[in-house]
Every structure is written in C-alpha cells, then in structure tokens.
Amino acid sequence: MTELSLAPFPLLRLPLAPLLFAALLWPLLLGLRAALGATISLGQPRPHLSRPLNQPLSQSLHQPLDWLWISAPWPALALVVLGPDGSLWLEAWLLGGCWELDDQRRLLLAFSALLWGLAGWYARGYFAAEQAQAAAGDPDSRARLLRFALFWPLALCGNLLLLVAEDIASFYLGFALMTFSAYPLVIHNGTREARTGGLAYLVMAVLGEGMILAGLLWGAGTGSALTLSELRATLATADMGLWMGLLLWLGFGVKAGVIGLHLWLPLAHPVAPTPASAVLSGVMIKAGLVGWLSTLPLGMAGIDDAFQGLGRAMLTAGLIGAFAAALLGAAQRHPKAVLAYSSVSQMGMIAALVALGLLQPDSWPALSVLVLFFAAHHGLSKGALFLGVGISEQPPRLPAWLLWTLLILPALSLAGALGSGLIAKWSTKKALEAAGEETLAVWLSLAAVGTTLLMARTLWRQWRPWRETIETNQRPGHSLSTSHRPSQTLRASHSPSPNPSSNPDQNDQHLLAPMPLAWLLGIVAALSLPFWAGWLAGGLTAELADQLADGIDGELEGAFSRQLAGGLASPPLSALPALLWPLGLGLLFSIVLGWSLRRVATRLSHWLPAGDLWWPLAFCGRWLWCLARGLLQGLVILQAAWIAWWVARERDGLTGLEMLTRAEGWLRRQLALLLLAVALGLAVVLLLNAKSTLLWP
C-alpha cells in the first residue's frame, strides 16, 4: 500500500511524527493562549485603563480571534499534504497510543482541516462587531469571545485526534474532547434559544457518550483490544458482539444524527454562531460516521449473522431519516434549521450506504470509498451553505445575480446536479447497481428529491429577508447609516449584542474581507472536491481500482474503477437525465408545494418546530420532573409523618413505662390481696390440672 500510495504523489514528504505532533499540539497551544488571556482578563477588571500601558497583550486580549488563532488547523493541512503514510506508536500515551495516517484518514483530515480553517477565517469577520465591542471594553463580549477562542481550538484538536487515532483510548479521548468543547460554541450567544439548543446538545451528547463508552469498554474488555482494528475483529466474533455493535451504532448515531437521535441538530444549529454551525454540520457530525467506520465490523467476512439484522435496522433508519428529515425540514422557517434537517437527511443516506457494509460485505471496499467521498462532499458543501447563510445576511458588494448564483451553487451540488454532488451521485448509482442494490439506488434518488426541496426551501428563506431589507433600504428617508447593513434586523434575532451604531470594520462588505473570501473559497473547495481529492487520494483510488479489477464482474467494475482512478470523472452526458430527474422533480415539488401551501406555511412551521420530538420529550421530561418532585415532597411528608409516628410511639413507650412504675406502687399497696390471689390461683391451677386431663394434656 505504501509503494502504491507513494507513486502518484509528486510532492516532497516530511517525517510523520513532527507533523502529527504539530497538527495536534498547535490548536492546543492556541487554546492555552486563549485560556491565559482569559486568566489575565480576570486579573484586570478594568482593562480599558491598562490598555495604553500594555498594548500588545491587550491586543490579543480584546481581539482574541487574530491571525494566529486562525492558523490553528494549518499544521493539519500541512500534515495532509506533506505527511507520509504510516503509523506512530506512543508507548507512554494512555494505554499505548497509536496514531496513523493512511489514505482514508488523509481524505477525512483534508476536508475537516480545510473546513475548520475556512470557518475560522470566516469567524474573524463574523465576530468583527463583537470584537469591536470587546475592544471598546464590553466585558460580556470579551468573555464570550475568549470562551469561543478557547474552545474552538480544543474542539478542533479533539476532531483531529479522533481522525488520526488508531488506539481506542485516543479515539475516545478525541471524540469526547470534541463533543464537550463544542458545547460552549453552541451556547455562545447566551440567549434562551441558545441555552435550549445547548441543553439538547448536551443531553444527547451525554447519552451518546454513555453508550459509546459502554460499547467501547465492553468490546475492548471482551477482546482485550487496544486498537480500533482489534475492536472491529472482536465485535465480528464475540458472542455479544451484536449488542456491542448496537451500543456503538446508537452512541455514534447521536453524533451522526440518526433519525430519533437527531434532536440536537435542528436545535443547536440555528442558535450557534454561523462558523460553529458550519463545522458542527460539516465536520463534527462526520465524527459519528468515522466512529461507525472505525468500530463496526463493516465489510468483514465471517461476521455473525445477527449483524444482518443490525444492518437492516441501520438501512431502514437511514432511509426513514432521509425522508422524514426532508419533510420536517421543509416546514422550517430558519434557513439554518432547514440546513440542519438537510444534514440529517444526508447522513441518513450515508447511514444507508454504511448499512450495506454489514449486509453485503463483499461490495464494501467500493462503497467505503464512496461513503468517504460522499462525507467529504457533504461536509464541504454543507459548510459552504452554512457560511452562505451568513453571507446572505451581510451581503458583500456583489451584483445580486452573482451573489445568488454563488449561493445556489453549493445547493445544486448538494442536490446532485453539479460538481462533486453530481459525481458522487453518479458513482453511488454505479456502485449500487454493481452491488445489486438497484432498489436502494431508487430510494436514494427519491431522497435526493427531498434534498432539492430542502435546498429550495433554505434558499427561499434566505432570499425573503434579503429582499425585504433591500426594499426597505430603497425607501426614501431611510437612515444611511444602516443602509449598508441590510440584514441587521435578521441578525439581531440571534445575535445578542449587535450595536448598529458601532460599525468599526467597514471592510467586511468588501469581497476580500474574511467572510466573503472564506465563503468563496469554501464554494470552490466544495465544487472542486473530485479533482483535488483524486489527486490527494490517488493511492486510495489506485488501491480500489486494483480491488475492483479483481472483482467478479470484470467489465462494469473495470470501467468504474478506471473512472475512479482517473479522478472520479464526470458522468457521461447520456447518464445525465437519469441523474438529474430528482432535481427537476424536487424543483417542481418545491414550486407546487410552496405555492399551494403559502397560506398555511406559517402555521405548518408552527406545528412542526425545529427539533420536532425534542419538545414533546422535553414536555414529558418536565412533567416527569414535576411528578418526581411531587413524589419527593410526598416522600418528605411521609418521612416526617413516619418520624413523628415513631416519636409518638416513643412517648407512648415512656408513658407505658411510667405506668409500669405506677403499677409497681399498686402492687405494693395490694400485696396482701396479691398473696391471696397467688395462693388461690395456684390452687386452682393445681386442682384443675388434677381433675381433668382435658385442660392440660
């Protein structure tokens, strides 16, 4: 594999270990820097007084999102490009660490680091107003920004660690670090909605972490496994392997947004800051997928038959998720909520593909490449779409047609009509047909109709407020100071402290300002994914080509593998109608539905709020809590009554003892009579005993 993968790489290679350490440690160092800044800020209650004295420090203190901070994922990108394949053993780390870099990891690392970098850059523009407020001495803004600056690199570090980890301990550490560091990013705004979203995120995350930990410990304990490949082997053969697999599927399914466990996605995404939403939806939910790929015995021969059932459950859940999320998402008003449901839908499709790894292990090598490619495509496209939401709120100086063309491009890609989306779709279709799963291919095409619907819905929901603000600005007499911030009203609804009068950075509408530039680069990266991925993962595709060439059906797979090896080439024109009909159908549906339901749309979105099941569940939870509290109070009352009862009995006992003492006085006074009574009683007993044997046998 090493020779194979080295061949198509013309670039120079650097040693693996320094690159790995740099990629993981650099975000940690940046997080440490932010933590130090926070500590200093605590020590300086009135920083505006010290500002003239200590300019460089206060610079990093009041503007935590500086260029250095943006550079957090850069070493990881360097690792992707310059790192050789190989593994690094660390005996002293945890239970014995093993970090690896291979072609799969390279692809995952590439799009993850890229999206983290773009989102970080975007954040610099996104938080410009807040940075300005912090610089002006607003402690709330400064605290929020410092928190963001601390946990963003930590989550990045966790994400990178889980991607490169081959040992279970590192993997879980990275996963948990990422999960829990993302929580402060979700609640960044501190509004009520943000807290609700954060609560949903945290509850589901803890639930998932619990199941993951249980599954990992169970599996690792059963098979004495330290690495993930050993764990997969253990699961494939262990007696209770199915249950471990189920735990792990559900645990990672929380992150990957399996339907039923997806509740946190539509609640957390709209309230999180846009760059955080982008990485949450683009990268972090892929960690769930990575978890599946790393721990489930996918494509392994000789696994327990019971895994067939699990595979069927995964397939069914994935397809249900793909459709249900599309329908629920179409009812949402907030574009980011629509996008979150779209993520659920897309992850449902991916989960259905992953399920084939259990159902048809033979076709898994081809499918796994597709799954990875699909994941990278979805991550980058969804990232671009999320970043685009922010762009439509604060549009740069572009002509409207160009702006909207750029906004539509990633949506079309996701719908499978363009660029990476089209290629992914075509490859999937071919692979599924090769595996004999034509039915699933049709189902996935139908799901793509839903994707189109969702894309149309989110663009529509972005276009409406943009249109309204433009019209408002064109009205005569409107204040000029707000005219160049058209989406101020919309942003105010989920940003806590936008101050319209303070607009320090006039350049954020410039095309080369951080936000638009990051967005543009994101679109480019998403659309050009097949080209650079093919270049990057040449070894991967070559390997796949070899495997497919050895396949049974030589003709078709051979052609397919050649296409892959040629850099995931575009489909032939003749295949386009078969690939594009879902788009057309989706657009038709969108128009028909949008027009027919325009009157009830408001009510519909009211009936189906973002987070769907969360609300009844939360209601049930509150009800249960009230019930439990009532029960608890009842118990407290019961306990008090119980204690009081015993105290009363104690008093009774004392009274009884007093009575006994008094009775002693009576006995003393009546001693003469008692003497008579004892004599009589004894005589009676003796006489009766003698007279009749019936009384005393």
């Binding site: 003892l657 004599a679 004894l682 006489l687 005993n689 003698a690 005393w696």
Partner: protein, 481 residues
C-alpha cells in the same frame, strides 16, 4: 441414721456464738473478723468433701419431738457458699463501719443478727422436716428484718415494717399449708411425706398455700414489691447478704417441697415458670427505669430470681437429660447470682459511699476516680447478663439447651429478653459513670479492703463459670431428687 455429728452442730451454732460475742464487743478491725470467722468456711468445705461419698442424714430427739436432718452435696455446697458470703459480708461490714459513721448500737446489733441469719440458713440447708424448716425460715426472716432496720431512717423503718408484716403473714400461710399436710398425712419429715403423699386435692391446696408463702418471702413476681424499698435504705453488707442468700433460701425450700410432694404437677410448674418469666421482664424493666443505683441492683435481683423459677417447668415431667440440665443450671445460677449480686451490691455501695450520691446521675466521673469498683460492677454484670465465661452464661446455656430439648420454646424467649434487659440497665449505669462533662462530686476515699472483697466475689462468680464442673460434680451423684 446417725447421731448428729458435733462439727455440724458447731457449724450451726458457732456463728451465733461469735455474733453474740461481737455484740458485746463490736469488732473495729476486719482482721479480727477474719481470724474468728475463717474456720467456718473451712469446716463447711470439710463437710462438703465429707459428703462426696454420699449424703449424711440423721435425727435429733428433743423429748417427744424428733427433728430430721440430711446433708447432701447440694446442701453442703450451699452451706459453703453461705459461709463464704457471710464471711465476705462480715469483713466488708467491719471496713464499712470504718468508712462511714454508723450508729454504734445498730452496728453492735448487726453481729448477733448475722449469726442468727447463719443459723437460720444452716437449718434451712440441712432440714429434712417441715418443723425444722419452719424454725429456720422464721429465724432467718426475723434476723433479716432486724438487719434491714438497723439504719433507722424513716424509709428503712417503713420498708422494714412492710417486710416484717408480710414476712409474718407469709409464714402463717406457710404454717397453714403445713397444717393441712400434717392433717392429711400425719407426718412432717420430707422423706416420709415424699413416700406417702399422693397428689390429692388437700395436698395440692397445701402446696399452693406453702408456695404462696414462699413466693412472698422469695420476692417472686407479683409478690416482690417489698424488696426494692428494703434494699434502697439498707446497709450495703446487709443488702449483699440478703440479695445473695435470704431470698434464695425460700426458693430452695419451695423447690424441695415441690419435688417431694408434686413432682408431676405440670400445670402448676408452668404457672410458677410463667410467674418467673414475668419476674424476669418486670424486674428488668423496673431496673431500667430505676432512679437510684441500689434500687437498680435490687430490681435486678427480682429479675434474676425469676430465672430460677424456670426450674419448675423444666423439671416437671421432662426427660432425665433435660431435668439434669435444668437442675444443674438452677443451682449454678443460684450460686453464680449469689456471688455476683453480693459483689454488685458491694460495688454499688462503694460507688454510692464514695460519691455520696443516690441517683445514677451522681456517678459522674467514677470511671476515673473509682475504676476498681466500677470494674467490679462490670464483672458482676457480666454474670448477670449471662455473658461467657461466667456462671450466669453456663446456667443460661444449660437452660437454653434444656428448653430446646424439651420443646418449651417460651423460656428461650424469656432468657433472651431477660439478657437484653440486663444489658440495657447495666449499660445505663456504665454510661452514667463514663460521663465526663458534668460537675464531679467530691470523692470520699475508700478502704482498699472494701473494693477488694467485692472484686474477689465478682471474680469468683466468673470463675464459677469457668470451673463449673467441680461444683456440679457434687450435684451429679445425688442427681435430681
């Protein structure tokens, strides 16, 4: 039948003679007492070793009147115990007179009464006819009442008068019973009565009368209520000898008569056992609630006497093995309790004398200032609670086995509850003694002899449990009569 040996007569009358001598010149030093009275237990021991081969018996003719006596292992053991306890009390009394200002005339009267008590008890142990028993019982009772009255306080007078009146009435009940027996069978010697008497109604009524009189004198529930006030105000050595021996003599006579006259009366035996059980519980509860230390000890006597009554149901109509266990347990409990109770009264008297307190709460700080007496109290309590290795434990263990073997489960419960109650009241005393934060009373120094005598008795009670085989060996040849 042999003529009465001289040493028997000497052992009977020497204490009285010594007592009369001491009445003339009350001893001021315990050394003299030891010197004069030490031969008595030695003679008793000699007697005990003499009856190892078999019981002695004889008769004494006083004109037309013939008195019967009998000395077996049990009687000799009890007599030895009596002499030892009397010696211990006498020694303690001499020290007691040193430590506390007693009324001179009262102190002088103590000695002949002690001698009379020794004579009465000796008569009871060796009597083999009802006349001699009657004489011994009355002598013992009158001497005991007289001793109880020596302090002269109002409480002592009232309690003593009550004791006197009821003891006299109890004797009359007993005399009436004897009258019926005499009328029915025409003889008074126990062996003859046991041979001829049938359990007909007259005998049963007679035994009921005899038993009620003896229950009153033996302070068995519900006829016990004279006991606690008497002890509350009596002198410590007198309380010790009374609680240890006097009440037990009545029980001894009752058991003797019952075995001779109505050995098969199961219902009556159960009635007596139930009275004993009630005594155990009542005594325990009252001891738990007692205000003063001596009251507590006296109430514990009531409870412990109740255990002895378990002998009746366990001896009546049970198998030979069960009867033997119950028989041994009874005498072991009697002896162990006698030693422990004397020790406990003496220890309690020491505590009270030194602290000048009457209530339990006044014992504050005794754990540090009077460790020896408190330890003695604890050792004695070990026997009363029935903890190993004391005689109380061995006795209760035998009773337990006998109860289980005979299927009389009720007594198991009684034994358990009784031990629990004993533990409760004993630990109440110890808790009061270990309180450190209350103001300490002024402690009066005590002669070491007072503490040592009590300690020796308490240790003897525990040693009796360890070496129970030897005294029980004197019972074994005689077996259950």
């Amino acid at each position: 039948m042999s003529p009465t040996p001289l040493h028997l007569l000497w052992l009977l009358f020497a204490p009285l003679a010594l007592g009369l001598l001491a009445w003339v010149r009350p001893p001021r030093h315990s050394g003299w007492v030891l010197l004069a009275a030490l031969p008595l237990p030695l003679v008793a021991l000699w007697l005990l070793l003499g009856v190892e081969t078999g019981p002695m018996a004889g008769r004494l003719a006083l004109g037309p009147l013939t008195l019967h006596w009998r000395l077996d292992g049990l009687a000799a053991s009890l007599w030895l115990l009596t002499q030892l306890l009397l010696l211990a009390s006498a020694l303690y009394a001499a020290s007691y007179a040193h430590a506390t200002p007693l009324r001179t005339r009262g102190y002088a009267w103590l000695w002949p009464l002690l001698g009379g008590l020794a004579l009465g008890l000796g008569l009871i142990w060796i009597a083999a006819d009802l006349l001699l028993l009657y004489a011994g019982l009355e002598l013992m009772g009158l001497c005991a009442v007289g001793m109880m009255l020596l302090p002269g306080s109002v409480e002592a007078l009232t309690a003593g008068l009550r004791y006197l009146l009821f003891a006299l009435v109890g004797s009359l009940t007993w005399l009436l019973g004897i009258a019926l027996l005499l009328g029915a069978w025409g003889r008074l010697d126990l062996a003859g009565l046991a041979a001829v008497a049938q359990p007909d109604p007259v005998t049963q009524i007679a035994v009921a009368l005899l038993a009620s009189g003896l229950l009153l004198k033996g302070a068995i529930f519900p006829l016990h209520s004279w006991l606690a006030p008497v002890h509350d105000s009596a002198w410590t050595p007198i309380s010790a000898i009374h609680g240890a021996l006097v009440v037990k003599a009545s029980f001894f006579i009752l058991l003797l008569l019952w075995r001779a006259l109505l050995p098969e009366a199961i219902a009556g035996a159960w009635a007596l056992g139930l009275l004993g059980s009630l005594a155990v519980l009542w005594g325990g509860v009252q001891a738990w609630r007692a205000v003063g230390l001596k009251q507590l000890v006296a109430w514990s006597t009531v409870g412990q006497l109740g255990y002895l009554m378990l002998a009746f149901p366990l001896l009546a109509g049970t198998s030979a093995a069960v009867a033997l266990m119950a028989w041994q347990a009874t005498w072991l409990q009697l002896a162990g309790h006698a030693l422990a109770k004397a020790a406990m009264f003496m220890a309690a008297g020491n505590l009270l004398l030194s602290t000048g307190a009457h209530r339990l709460e006044g014992l504050t700080g005794t754990s540090r200032r009077l460790p020896l007496s408190l330890m003695t109290f604890g050792f004695a309590a070990v026997t009363l609670m029935g903890l190993p290795p004391s005689a109380g434990f061995t006795a209760k263990w035998l009773w337990l086995q006998a109860s289980l073997a005979s299927g009389q489960w009720l007594w198991v419960l009684v034994l358990a509850l009784g031990s629990l109650l004993s533990a409760i009241y004993v630990f109440r005393v110890l808790r009061c003694s270990f309180v450190e934060d209350a103001p300490e009373p002024a402690f009066r120094p005590l002669p070491l002899g007072m503490e040592l005598i009590a300690l020796v008795l308490a240790l003897a009670a525990i040693g009796l449990g360890l070496a129970a085989a030897w005294p029980l060996s004197f019972l074994a040849p005689a077996g259950v009569p």
